[in-house]
Symmetry: C2
Subunit: 207 residues, 2 copies
């Protein structure tokens, strides 16, 4: 078996626990010299496949109440600004199309971080083109061109394919980390995913 | 506000992630000088309240597949024996009545660890009195007396009350840790619960 080439970070812009993951994944991976691949997808179709038409945090309010408190604590620990969004979940389609279409651009990490901050620290409506545009500008990206390209049939299809791929590879929530076929679910599994990657690449070097 | 007096460990013997938690909670807490209270309860009524008549890991097979793999990885990391139970979830009523009735006995920690090992390392049917009896004997407990007392109306009512209390205090899964009103859910939140306890007791000492 060939060693994994990167840790894939699968994220959904409406996903709450993806917020802290998005803010720390690049720095934590860089400190270990591990390449990250940014994989935007949509949770809607994934949840739909499980029989849900809303976030499970809305469907199961007791779990939802816990999640918001838990997220608040995590943000305090990480020193991240947090304001509970006045709308949840927010429409992530446009931002996800941009992130999927431009996943290899040098500004992708900054863009992803900005969108999460807009949603979970600034309570802005990330479904609106002007908000996504602001995030692109802050990330140093060509905003107008990126938004225009995100509206093409190719960009739309790319996001649909990514979401299909996520489901085929066993992803059922966000954030998720894939190292080859090995799946890790949750912000609190980032370190385990990086450990897995390190062990797999090291064992190949030794063999 | 008075400081919390202990970290409450809420567990269900059929719960998969409670297995690693049960094996490490006493040692981790002891290393920090934190008292632990053992709180057995039943997840059945909790899940029933969420509209489920089975474990969500059975209802949502994609999530279930992930959980078994994740649990296996966690056990490897902790150097814990693991064999996937041939039946899941196993009936935990009798063992939970024993643990609830005798939660303050000196043998409670050993008994809880033994029941989880029987279920998740030895693939034994913990719903059977002879298996629970074995676990009591291994823990140095008076097995016959404990089983007889667990069958009394008072012991049955105590477990029902504990499960009611869990739901009233926001517990929706296992393992859970309660520090006063503060809830932490999951084996991977044990350290956060202990940190929370330490900060609360320290701030009271300083004030």
């Amino acid at each position: 078996m060939s060693p994994p080439r990167a840790v894939e970070f699968w994220f959904e812009f409406a996903s709450t626990y993806s917020y802290p993951a998005s803010q720390r994944v690049a720095a934590v991976a860089r400190a270990r010299g591990t390449p990250i691949v940014w994989r935007a997808f949509l949770l809607g179709p994934v949840f739909h496949g499980q029989g849900w038409d809303d976030s499970p945090f809305n469907i199961y309010p007791v779990k939802g109440r816990y999640m918001w408190r838990d997220l608040e604590r995590i943000c305090i620990d990480l020193d991240l600004p947090f304001r509970r969004p006045s709308q949840f979940p927010r429409g992530s389609l446009l931002a996800a199309r941009v992130a999927c279409r431009f996943s290899s651009e040098h500004w992708i990490a900054d863009f992803v971080r900005e969108v999460y901050r807009a949603n979970f620290a600034e309570d802005r409506d990330i479904s609106q083109p002007e908000v996504v545009s602001d995030c692109l500008v802050r990330a140093g990206a060509p905003a107008d061109r990126a938004l225009a390209e995100a509206a093409t049939p190719e960009a739309k299809q790319a996001l649909r394919s990514a979401t299909e791929e996520a489901m085929q590879r066993g992803v059922f929530g966000a954030p998720s980390f894939l190292v080859g076929d090995e799946l890790f679910w949750g912000n609190d599994r980032l370190e385990a995913a990086l450990d897995w990657y390190a062990a797999r690449t090291r064992s190949v070097e030794l063999s």
